[in-house]
């Protein structure tokens, strides 16, 4: 089954399950070693999404209500590639975030910050044939959490991606360059390699920025790809 399997993650690329500084991992991380699963059709197949399932304003979180949300309007765009450098078309991307004040529109978010009647904070897009996606939203706010004394999450956007296979599924978070909370955030700092952490920080991009309208950020995402076959080499 070797020619169709997906490449395994190298040590250091991904966070561990147990990372004590992130307190919730302690009672949820596996305590026994994982069992190596050779890829079968069960892992290399996966659900297929059609762009037609995406509504006209799903990618634009500033146009989902009667009025415009408060906050700094931003464009977040990038390419989804596999680890062989090939574009991943038709990847479903779902994002969610706080409003500009750092509050989620969620019943269990009790942060004392205002809700915004013009902002839900959820978006959806499918990558085009070149793997490109684009969202318009507002910059999310930092918010406190109970992990440790004076704990604050840096501003972030949650990203959920379906690639071509069940085993390429990825849920991650995008951060903003220069955020002073980044060094103190155990969720981001759980990633062992500095380069890995940098991969989750979007790049401010003047070419993406639109004059008199919105700042632009580039955030590229790499999913696992198939192992190269001898033929391809």
């Amino acid at each position: 089954m070797s020619q169709n399997t997906y490449r395994r993650h190298a040590p250091g690329d991904q966070p561990p399950y147990l990372y004590k500084q992130y307190a919730s991992t302690v009672r949820r991380a596996p305590s026994k070693p994982l069992i190596f699963l050779p890829h079968t059709l069960s892992e290399t197949s996966g659900p297929i999404f059609r762009p037609s399932a995406i509504g006209e304003t799903d990618h634009d979180l500033t146009r989902q209500h009667a009025g415009e949300p408060q906050g700094e309007r931003i464009i977040v765009t990038g390419r989804v590639l596999d680890d062989n450098g090939r574009a991943v078309p038709n990847a479903l991307i779902e994002i969610w975030q706080t409003n500009a004040a750092g509050r989620y529109r969620h019943a269990k978010d009790n942060h004392q910050a205002p809700l915004d009647p013009n902002f839900t904070g959820a978006g959806r897009a499918v990558t085009d044939e070149n793997g490109i996606y684009r969202f318009v939203t507002i910059k999310p706010g930092a918010y406190p959490w109970k992990n440790h004394h004076n704990a604050w999450r840096p501003a972030h956007i949650h990203f959920s991606l379906f690639g071509p296979a069940f085993c390429t599924r990825l849920i991650t978070q995008m951060y903003f360059p220069g955020d002073p909370l980044i060094p103190f955030d155990p969720v981001l700092q759980s990633i062992p390699d500095e380069k890995g952490r940098q991969r989750l920080v979007a790049k401010f991009d003047l070419d993406t920025t639109q004059p008199d309208w919105a700042l632009g950020y580039q955030f590229n995402i790499v999913l696992r790809g198939r192992e190269a076959t001898p033929f391809e080499k």
Binding site: H9, A10, D13, Q14, P15, Y17, Y22, S24, T25, V26, R27, R28, A29, P30, S31, K32, L34, I35, F36, L37, P38, H39, T40, L41, S42, E43, S45, G46, P47, L81, D83, N84, G85, E94, I95, W96, Y104, H106, K108, G121, A122, R124, H158, S160, F166, R169, L170, I171, T172, Q173, V187, I191, G196, R199, L200, V222, L223, R224, E232, K233
Partner: protein, 167 residues
């Protein structure tokens, strides 16, 4: 030449994903033997995990992929999929592929649901990789009153923890 890039790191789904990740209870084509799959997650203290998302991916009755569902757990740590029993996929016994996302999981957990009493379990190549004394953690069990209801318990971080796979 092939350019090798390093995959983007995973991060926790956090506790607020419900505002975006909509549930899919029913796996679509339900041809075959209809079942309800009741999944329940407990953490290392035996406390129900009430903020997890479970995604399932399975074959149809003839072994053809695929049907997809996803649900978030309720206050009891439970979610219920409406599906049909999968068929065998090549040499593999009928199974449902599972990914679990939750606050406190920096990356997803992969497991599989097999069906207790299924004769082909004895020859399943993946079950064969699991130590015999832990295989039971991968079995859904039929409800005593209604055999179309299958219960699957996921134990995190415990001596009796569910088998999770390195996928």
């Amino acid at each position: 030449m092939i350019m090798e890039l390093i995959p983007t790191p995973s991060q926790t789904i956090g506790p607020f994903f419900h505002i975006c990740l909509t549930p899919q209870t029913d796996l679509g084509d339900l041809t075959g033997e209809r079942i309800r799959l009741v999944c329940r997650i407990l953490d290392g203290d035996g406390t129900p995990v009430n903020d997890a998302m479970i995604e399932v991916w399975q074959a149809g009755a003839a072994g053809e992929y695929g049907r997809f569902g996803r649900l978030c757990t309720n206050e009891d740590g439970v979610c219920v999929f409406e599906t049909a029993k999968p068929g065998r996929v090549a040499a593999q016994a009928p199974h449902v592929n599972v990914q679990i996302f939750a606050r406190g999981l920096l990356k997803q957990l992969f497991t599989r649901i097999y069906f207790e009493g299924e004769p082909s379990n004895l020859n399943d190549p993946i079950l064969a990789l699991v130590p015999e004394d832990r295989r039971g953690t991968l079995m859904a069990r039929p409800n005593a009153e209604d055999s179309s209801v299958w219960n699957f318990e996921i134990r995190l971080c415990a001596d009796s923890e569910t088998v999770f796979f390195d996928v």
